[in-house]
């Protein structure tokens, strides 16, 4: 379950994504999800009132930037067609302080897919601060994008003793605690964005979802926890370490997305235009059907899991000298477990589109 823990209490639950560009290289699943959003994004872009002064696009929870390039380019092209060539367009990427911003800026400057390539009067910047409070001036944002972050739970860690993903715990008190925190996170996020958005501005937010009783993550999630348990049985991880390996993420249902808006469809100056849970196509499965390479499928999913969970796992090892080796072993084990009997992995994407009144 992809992307950065957002922290509102200075007690960091998880951590940023795997650094050194690793997340950028292993986020194809996230990219597949984003492709589902482009119609809604284009509608939001078209509806944007440009007004006067610089046009500001916020990318909340950017991680290392790769998955933001295409949507930002779409917005830039549209705004450039509607506004004069000299009109400045500012793109503000936000993430946790510990995010790998050097990878973000390097990609912006050097990646051929960067929206900065060939762009004129486009100005990129970053903010390293939790988005559960306002982090941009009031009424300063014309358009906002937020993908694959809001399933990360803020605040002190909620520990599950029986799974790496707390929502999969058999302990009802764990699931309850996670869902309560998630409700507060969503309202804190919406209130903060309402402060920052200009009147008429839209925000598209998409994160890990659940529909028809499933997140689509059972197979990979159980294999991940099974791999952690394997290393425990082999004496490589203590019980305490395994318990600390709770990745602070959880999925939302459509009802949970809609809850803050109640029956009126309005919340804190925001109007709900859309709430739905989509199914993300599994490109890894398509590749496997074509080449029959189960090991490649396992490694691909294991890298994807490592990209978002690696820092949490490393953190649970609290400074052990063999941290790097343990991580390598754990994700190799996960790859092997997944390769034994490949399955379709169709995650769900919980999407909302809101407009500032």
């Amino acid at each position: 379950m992809p992307k950065a823990t957002q922290d509102k209490s200075d007690q960091i639950g998880g951590a940023a994504m795997e650094g050194g560009g690793f997340y950028n290289r292993h986020s194809a699943m996230q990219a597949a999800g984003i492709s589902l959003l482009l119609d809604d994004w284009e509608a939001a872009v078209r509806s944007t009132v440009l007004g006067e002064g610089p046009i500001v696009i916020a990318d909340y929870g950017s991680s290392q930037g790769r998955n933001s390039m295409a949507p930002m380019r779409i917005a830039i092209d549209e705004f450039r067609a509607r506004a004069c060539a000299e009109r400045p367009i500012q793109i503000v990427h936000t993430d946790l302080p510990s995010n790998d911003f050097a990878a973000l800026f390097t990609a912006l400057n050097d990646d051929p897919a960067s929206y900065m390539a060939g762009a004129n009067n486009v100005f990129a910047s970053a903010i390293g601060r939790s988005y559960f409070a306002p982090i941009l001036p009031p009424k300063s944002v014309n358009l906002a994008w937020n993908t694959w972050t809001l399933h990360w739970i803020s605040g002190p860690v909620i520990v599950a003793r029986d799974h790496a993903f707390p929502g999969f715990s058999q302990d009802p008190s764990v699931v309850e605690a996670v869902e309560k925190r998630q409700r507060e996170d969503l309202t804190d996020f919406l209130k903060s964005r309402s402060y920052e958005l200009k009147p008429g501005a839209r925000l598209l937010s998409a994160s890990v979802g659940r529909s028809q009783g499933t997140t689509g993550w059972n197979w990979i999630g159980d294999a991940f926890w099974g791999s952690i348990e394997d290393l425990g049985r082999e004496g490589l991880l203590s019980r305490e370490e395994r318990t600390a390996m709770t990745v602070p993420v959880n999925a939302r249902t459509e009802d949970q997305l809609r809850a803050p808006f109640g029956s009126t469809g309005h919340y804190e100056g925001l109007k709900l235009l859309k709430a739905e849970v989509l199914t993300v196509p599994d490109n890894t499965w398509a590749t496997y059907l074509a080449n029959g390479n189960a090991q490649q499928l396992g490694t691909s999913h294991a890298n994807m899991v490592r990209a978002f969970s690696g820092p949490t796992i490393a953190n649970a090892l609290s400074g052990r000298a063999d941290t790097a080796q343990i991580l390598d072993q754990l994700y190799a084990r996960l790859a092997a477990r997944l390769a034994v009997a490949p399955q379709l992995h169709e995650g769900k994407l919980a999407v909302i589109v809101v407009e500032k009144s």
Copy 2:
């Protein structure tokens, strides 16, 4: 000679500062220089026209942020006293893409000395892009700060075979090449800032200077090159590696600062209010006089040199597996050489203050 290489050609001459917060911990000399600037800075702050909308303060070449906290706080306090409490103040820190922005944002969020501590309606952000071209929208900056960066030379490396600091080379063609590049850097920097500053906005810029024929760096600079040569004699560094250990920095004289402005005192819409070269007090020397600990003095200077030159040295080793050990040995050697016969190290600071017409 402190702080980040700024690159305008995609061929990075040096690199960013030493990461992981090392630069933040070993930049006391830079802090001493900054304290000399506070009168000019306060005058610039008082002269700032606040106008309408968010007040934008740019910190060009922020590195990991520690030395920006006090000047930003001064500006925030003054602006908050003059504008209403709700008026947003935006602080934009810029540096090279490879800068340790996570350390910057972590300091902003957690350091008790952070200007964000207790601040309301103050919004910090960062830009990872060379400042030798415009990186902010036109006429968007109310006040600008730039310290300890402009002695870093842009573009392809200029190699000195006989010193770590190219300005100290006995080869006149090296010195000439460095000075030519520096002239272009200064005009590129000024033109870009002129584009970004609002009318009436001031920029204070201070970097390594030279006056009365000296930069004040001969003792440490020669000991640094001597340490590199020592490791060469011991077979630890090849000739090629030693030659690549040219830190792309150089000092400017007052005449060189004034040159772009000619006899009119104006250049590209900027009016020169001040150009001077100051002498930076040596706090390390004061400590040594008090405690007589020569090893501590040597280590303190060696860490200071490492904070700005470490990435260049590591880069010259191009991937050698023992890079970390070689760096440890080199700077230990430098510390030992400096401890043999401690001297006063009074660097020079080349200062300009300009105002946008």
